[in-house]
């Protein structure tokens, strides 16, 4: 460069540098380079043309590039930007779509990122689930990305194309005679109308049957209908084994309504009362104000006894009922007469505002429903808290009697083609039912499934099924409420939905399809609905409904109705009562099969996040267990984890024992839905299946969940139960508080013990000038349902770690539901405490980290800097709440192998995947906080309650979790934290948590000697 300048200057010749130059420029110029300006740059340049520095640079660069090329083999990956940018998609911003769950009919809100759904929540505009969904629905997003999903349809075990399937269907469906279709309950009006128009024989069964309720309704009121139970209207609730907060009926809807009736916010001092007669300890009993442990064989006797007492009080006797007097029943069942009397009295007192629900087990199940219906009718609850007329539920339509007729038809050879969807008969039914042989004898079986499972192995045509998030459809959970199921992603694999196929096949024998495709079919159904809901144009209404997610009448939740009770039903129930009760002298055990909120019927068993979700009651994960009472275990010398052999004449299984308080002696219980043989790599072989126990001479085809005459013997083998909470008592520690309603009315702070209120601090307190995030969790609302746990894991990419790691105490969930028992050891009271990072102001974790990886933010968050963490784990040791979670292994890439496709797609891109050796914990969904803050900022205002909601808060059906800004005195959270029931856990440690809990209030008489432990004052 310098040379150029000099050259140009010599050419110009305008100026000279010295006398020599002016006299003899050529000589000067020749000598110039060597004279004074000897720099490294100049040296040698004339000879080579490449100077030393450039040579060094090029050599260095080529060595580097050569070594890079040698070391890393870069895969060829093409990055293609959107050619035509979709209007809605802005990279980095989530989109939200309203949809609905085809199984429950609940409205959903699906979060998508760059075109892929990553989170499912409840649609707050939906009048049935009102923004909440269950743990299973929360986890369903992971089913979508399950690598074990079936990717192509199969014919006779080999991958096939849909054209082949369609050809086969054309033959099999040439005539509609001999064509049967077996499905789970269908809530979709479009799908139902298509099936109806096709004219196939249609059988629906529910894997978690509600046939007893449906049959009872039919016998009591004439119509086989699933009523809509209005827990939001009930002030006094009696449940006989109806586990409505756990896994019975429309649980999310019930939980929402139930919790509203019990919320003691502001100055409210009244709440509903729940009395539960329960066999297996489940969530409903744990949330009861009074739980009575019963034997399931005694259900009918107890109901009849209540009926007797109610009749006596209102002066309306029924012949034959007198033998069910409380005194007699006490003798037979051991349930104290005064409990029955009290319940009857209260039922009468709360006439028209009470609700009795029951879930029958065994042969008297329908009779039980008839008694309950009688009580509800007599007490004028029918029509008020039970809606069987205005907007009854569509969620349960199954009928095992019609399934029996299908079996008969198969056996007589009249079934030529069977289409199965939503049901896995070979897993659901006992082997002794002969289902396998029956289905094998059908010439053409079209089986829709997401995985190669038990039934697909014998089906000729296995049809790879869409995930609901990939399909068009619609649902109607209750009468007059409709939602559109809209796909949020194109099918990941070569799959179709049942509706897609039936539309495609509707041309067979007709020449023309019912509609062009599923979408058109849905649109045409909705054109029929249009007039009832809107006066605007169809397109406008359709667009609006797609956006809002629901079409419902305005006054949906108002109004009452009434049906006439048929006394015959009650009379037959009284007769049935004669054969009810335990078999006297029976030394064998009674086995009660149940389903869990986390796992349901086991159809989501390949979902690791659900496998690892602790059962809300036992806190056990990854497999089922045999719940027995403590005294039964003691008498037989069983310990937790002892593997026993459970057998009847027909079948036997081996399963670990777990001592569960709240069971009567002689009763054992286990969850269904486990023991899958063929589902996927995660679900196979977890737990044991009890399907073979469910065959019964009296229940027909319906799986019988109450098995008598069970022998149990110890095998001598042991297994550590993968339990996330091994200790269940508070040990007299003041961590959570409860009180009775009466005491609460007298003093809102009742029950709360403060050992050392407002202790002094040696730290200078933090100053929070802008926001100060905090949370309030109402223990009176929390039912323990654990939807928040799943929601948190999905939102924050929290991995499931597997059975062995849970056994070793290394579960990763950021929020857990601590469950403590108190009182009577045999039938204790329960309290739930959602436990997550408390975001302490004086956080013990922050001071001990040697590398400052965990620090305090200006708005009160306890932050975790993953990049900086070296994993000393001291923070976890010093955390009194033990909410920190360590990555013991590379959880996102097990065995240091890359993540399997398509799992990376399901991760939330806003949340870092943590590598091994790093500590993690709840962040208060900091990604949502930041999004909310920036949204508010662009709009020039302060972020409010609706800008920021944490994932757990979104998921909570009982609205127990409230998050917000404590610096805003008008915020909900600030008001709740100032409430009389508010307390912080372990206050005396002076960690100053940002989370306060609100004490639990039980609607019962105060305890005589308060169970407050410690005793050290």
């Amino acid at each position: 460069m310098k040379k150029d300048q000099i050259e140009s200057s010599t050419q110009a010749k305008r100026f000279w540098m010295s006398v020599e130059e002016s006299r003899a420029p050529e000589v000067f110029e020749k000598n110039l380079p060597g004279e004074f300006i000897s720099t490294p740059i100049r040296e040698g340049e004339e000879s080579s043309g490449l100077d030393r520095r450039d040579f060094m640079k090029i050599m260095g660069a080529s060595a580097l590039m050569a070594s890079l090329a040698g070391c890393t083999r870069r895969p060829v990956q093409k990055i293609v930007p959107y050619v035509n940018n979709p209007e809605e998609i802005i990279p980095g911003k989530p989109n939200f779509y309203a949809s609905a769950d085809p199984l429950t009919g609940y409205g959903l809100l699906v979060t998508t990122r760059e075109g892929r759904p990553i989170k499912v929540d409840g649609n707050t505009d939906h009048p049935v689930n009102r923004g909440a969904i269950s743990a299973r629905d929360q986890a369903s997003i992971h089913d979508l990305y399950d690598p074990d999903r079936l990717r192509n349809p199969q014919i006779a075990g080999a991958d096939a194309s849909w054209e082949d399937i369609d050809k086969a269907a054309a033959q099999a469906l040439a005539t509609k005679d001999g064509v049967w279709i077996l499905t789970s309950s269908i809530l979709s009006p479009t799908l139902q109308s298509v099936i109806d128009r096709l004219g196939y024989r249609h059988v629906m069964i529910d894997s978690l049957p509600m046939d007893d309720v449906l049959e009872g309704q039919a016998q009591s009121y004439g119509e086989r209908v699933m009523p809509r139970y209005r827990f939001d209207r009930a002030d006094y609730i009696v449940s006989i084994d109806a586990d409505f907060l756990d896994n019975w009926g429309s649980t999310v809807e019930y939980e929402k309504g139930f919790s509203e009736k019990r919320r003691l916010s502001g100055n409210r001092v009244s709440m509903s009362k729940l009395v539960v007669f329960e066999s297996m300890m489940r969530l409903t009993g744990q949330n009861a104000d009074r739980r009575v442990a019963i034997h399931p064989a005694d259900q009918l006797l107890i109901a009849l006894s209540i009926a007797f007492e109610v009749g006596r009080i209102i002066g309306q006797g029924t012949p034959g009922l007198s033998e069910y007097s409380p005194a007699n029943i006490q003798q037979k069942t051991g349930v104290a007469a005064e409990i029955i009397t009290e319940v009857a009295k209260d039922l009468v007192r709360y006439r028209g505002r009470g609700l009795i629900v029951a879930s029958g087990k065994g042969p008297q199940a329908v009779a039980l429903q008839n008694v309950v219906n009688f009580l509800n009718s007599v007490l004028d609850n029918e029509g008020e808290t039970i809606d069987g007329l205005l907007h009854p539920s569509n969620q349960f339509k199954g009928n095992y009697a019609s399934f029996e007729s299908l079996l008969t038809a198969i056996r007589t050879g009249s079934v030529k083609t069977l289409i199965i969807q939503g049901v896995n008969p070979l897993y659901l039914f006992a082997e002794s039912m002969g289902i396998e042989a029956a289905i094998k004898s059908v010439p053409n079986v079209f089986y829709f499934t997401s995985h190669l499972d038990e039934t697909s192995r014998i089906a000729k045509y296995v049809l790879a099924e869409n995930h609901p998030l990939e399909s068009w459809g619609d649902v109607s959970p209750i009468k007059d409420v409709y939602s559109i199921v809209q796909p949020t992603i194109r099918s990941l694999w070569n799959t179709r939905s049942l509706l897609d196929c039936l539309i495609e096949w509707s041309a067979i024998g007709r020449g023309q399809k019912f509609a062009e495709n599923a979408y058109e079919a849905v649109v045409s159904t909705w054109k029929g609905l249009h007039g009832r809901y809107s006066s605007s144009s169809f397109q406008n209404w359709w667009d609006d409904t797609l956006m809002s997610g629901v079409a419902a009448p305005a006054n949906l939740n108002n109004g009452t109705s009434s049906r006439r009770y048929k006394m015959d039903a009650f009379r037959s129930a009284i007769n049935a009562g004669k054969s009810a009760g335990r078999v006297s002298g029976d030394t064998d055990f009674t086995l009660l099969l149940t389903s869990s909120i986390a796992f349901g019927d086991g159809s989501q068993s390949n979902n690791a996040i659900l496998q690892e979700l602790p059962d809300p009651v036992s806190k056990n994960t990854w497999g089922n267990y045999l719940a027995v009472s403590e005294s039964t275990a003691h008498k037989n010398g069983w310990k937790d984890g002892d593997i026993v052999k459970v057998e009847t004449a027909a079948s036997s299984v081996e399963i670990p024992v777990y001592q569960q308080p709240g069971l009567v002696d002689g009763l054992v219980s286990a969850h269904l839905g486990y023991g899958r043989k063929f589902k996927g790599r995660i679900g196979n072989g977890v737990g044991v299946s009890f399907a073979n126990f469910t065959a019964s001479a009296t229940s027909g085809a319906m799986p019988n969940w109450l098995v008598h005459g069970v022998r149990i013997t110890k095998t001598g083998k042991r297994e550590k139960i993968p339990c996330t909470q091994g200790h269940h008592r508070l040990e007299g520690r003041d961590i959570v508080f409860d009180t009775s309603l009466e005491e609460y009315r007298a003093n809102p702070k009742a029950g709360i013990v403060r050992h050392f209120p407002n202790p002094p601090s040696i730290w200078s307190e933090h100053e929070y000038k802008g926001y100060k995030w905090g949370m309030a969790i109402d223990l009176n609302s929390c039912t323990g349902c654990s939807a928040c746990v799943v929601a948190c894991s999905v939102e924050n990419n929290v991995p499931a770690v597997g059975k062995e790691q849970v056994q070793r105490g290394r579960e990763m969930q950021w929020i857990r539901i601590d469950r403590y028992y108190s009182g009577d050891a045999m039938n204790p009271e329960t309290i739930y405490q959602p436990m997550l990072c408390q975001h302490c102001d004086n956080a013990p974790c922050e001071t001990v980290c040697p590398v400052l990886a965990t620090t305090h933010s200006d708005d009160g968050l306890n932050q975790m800097t993953y990049n900086r963490c070296v994993g000393t784990k001291y923070c976890s040791n010093n955390c009194p709440y033990k909410v920190r979670r360590f990555n013991w292994f590379e959880n996102n890439a097990p065995m240091n192998a890359p993540m399997e496709h398509p799992l990376p797609l399901m991760k939330n891109p806003e949340v870092t995947l943590r590598s091994r050796g790093v500590m993690e914990k709840c962040t208060f969904c900091v990604q949502r906080i930041e999004a909310g803050k920036s949204r508010a900022k662009t709009e020039g205002r302060r972020a409010g309650e609706n800008d920021i909601r944490t994932a757990c808060q979104d998921a909570c059906a009982s609205d127990a979790i409230v998050f917000g800004d404590l610096n805003d005195p008008e915020s909900k959270v600030a008001k709740l934290q100032a409430h009389g029931r508010s307390f912080t856990s372990l206050e005396e440690l002076n960690a100053k948590p940002a989370i306060t809990y609100l004490s639990k209030v039980r609607n019962r008489a105060p305890m005589k000697n308060a169970d407050h432990g410690g005793g050290h004052h």
Partner: protein
């Protein structure tokens, strides 16, 4: 040896002629005896012992390698007990390391001349124990490749990224690294005259070279001795407070936390005493072996061992006092969490077996040394010293495992046991320790030749 020689002011008292070295050795004998293992082909005993040690070390290193490759999940620790065998072993080895410094520095400053027979080996033991200990603070982190330098306040261009001086783990980094450095230098300086002796005796040229380099040109002149004594005294003075500070700061790892069972002010003295206790026991274990294997009975005499045993018993009782004090304070504080940890949990809880193992080994078994017969009985003291170290290992187990496994919220209570990997790593650290010690016995003078000579009385008994 009688009481006069071990009295605190040994210098002032007229030394009688009970020799610190027995057997009527001459100076030449001392040199020859001590140098013999260095200059002869290793004995069969040594080869067998070395083979076993290095195999165990190999297994330990394999376990470390697996841990590094797969993650800390191979260990028994979990969400509730986030520390386990790693920190137990760390504290255990740091404790062992204390006796060396105490014997060389503190006893030197107090002019306890009997220390000369054992100080070299005790110092070596310190160095090796600290090496064993140092594996853990680094290796127990989730990402040791980063912890190796992120725990140091090194200048960086990442803005305010700095270490947390409030964290006791950081104090630990400084305390232990200081201790290691000072101990190593102190030991090395003490070795120089003896290295020169070995150099002078060496025949093989390589041997000459190596020992020549190591002895740093030591000529044994008066000037050299003058500087040597100065340096040695200064380093002894520097090391002495470290005996107190290192384990005090190690105890802060626990005492500064808020965990019941850890959060106690008694921890610094309790840890220091425990460290001396275990360190002396380990010295006895090693000395008993060394004097047998290398025929050093005349240099490490029964008198030495008896003195060691007295200190062992004394510190053992102090440790017992600490145990009792913890219980008293737990009761006296009225703090239910504290009471639960000590009464319900440690003494009577699921870990009662560990607690009573600790009490038996540390507080009951050493009482046998009230009897002179047992104090001077070599097999007996060997057994007791091994029990003491088992007990002291369990003390750390009790402190770490039982306090963590049941902390504030009963919901997170769990149980901790060592995994197979933990056991192999634990044994592996013993393998490392003995491998290093055996190498030391082969290549360096086990007894401080120059120092022993200084306390020997040769020639006729009268002046």
């Amino acid at each position: 040896m009688n009481s006069t020689t071990v009295s605190m002011d040994g210098n002032a008292v007229e030394l009688d002629r009970v020799d610190l070295v027995s057997g009527g050795k001459t100076y030449a004998d001392v040199t020859a005896d001590v140098c013999r293992p260095l200059e002869s082909f290793p004995t069969k005993t040594w080869l067998i012992a070395f083979g076993i040690s290095i195999s165990i070390l190999g297994a330990g290193l394999t376990a470390w390698g697996l841990t590094l490759w797969f993650g800390l999940g191979l260990w028994g620790i979990h969400n509730t007990n986030a520390w386990g065998a790693d920190i137990i072993n760390f504290v255990f080895w740091i404790g062992i390391g204390h006796a060396g410094t105490l014997i060389s520095a503190v006893l030197y400053l107090f002019r306890q001349n009997w220390r000369t027979g054992i100080n070299r080996a005790a110092e070596a033991m310190t160095i090796f124990a600290v090496i064993c200990a140092l594996m853990y603070p680094l290796g127990h982190t989730g990402r040791p490749w980063l912890a190796a330098y992120w725990l140091l306040p090194y200048p960086n261009d990442m803005g305010s990224l700095w270490v947390n001086f409030r964290s006791p783990l950081l104090w630990d980094v400084f305390a232990v690294s200081t201790y290691f450095t000072i101990s190593l230098v102190f030991w090395y300086i003490g070795l120089i005259p003896d290295l020169a002796t070995v150099r002078d005796r060496a025949i093989h040229p390589i041997r000459k070279k190596v020992y020549g380099l190591l002895s740093m040109g030591w000529k044994g002149g008066a000037r050299h001795w003058h500087h040597y004594e100065k340096a040695y005294g200064l380093l002894a003075g520097l090391s002495a407070p470290l005996v107190l500070s290192v384990h005090t700061i190690v105890s802060f790892d626990f005492a500064v936390s808020n965990l019941p069972g850890w959060h106690t002010t008694i921890f610094p003295p309790y840890f220091v005493i425990g460290a001396i206790f275990s360190g002396f026991a380990m010295v006895v274990t090693l000395m008993v072996i060394a004097r047998e294997v290398f025929s050093l009975k005349n240099y490490i005499t029964l008198n030495h061992l008896e003195a060691m045993n007295k200190i062992t018993m004394c510190t053992g009782m102090l440790v017992g006092l600490a145990y009792a004090t913890e219980f008293f304070i737990a009761w006296y504080s009225g703090n239910p969490y504290e009471q639960y940890v000590f009464f319900n949990n440690r003494a009577l809880g699921p870990y009662a077996w560990a607690y009573w193992t600790m009490i038996t080994c540390n507080s009951i078994i050493p009482q046998i040394f009230w009897f002179k017969k047992f104090r001077r009985n070599v097999p007996m003291m060997f057994i007791v010293s091994v029990f003491v170290n088992i007990g002291m290992w369990f003390e750390r187990f009790v402190i770490i495992a039982t306090s963590l496994h049941r902390d504030f919220l009963p919901s997170s209570w769990d149980y901790y046991l060592l995994s197979v990997t933990d056991w192999v790593i634990t044994l592996g650290s013993f393998g490392l320790f003995f491998t290093l010690f055996l190498l030391f016995c082969r290549f360096l003078p086990v007894v401080a030749i120059a120092e022993v000579k200084s306390v020997m009385k040769t020639g006729p008994k009268s002046h």
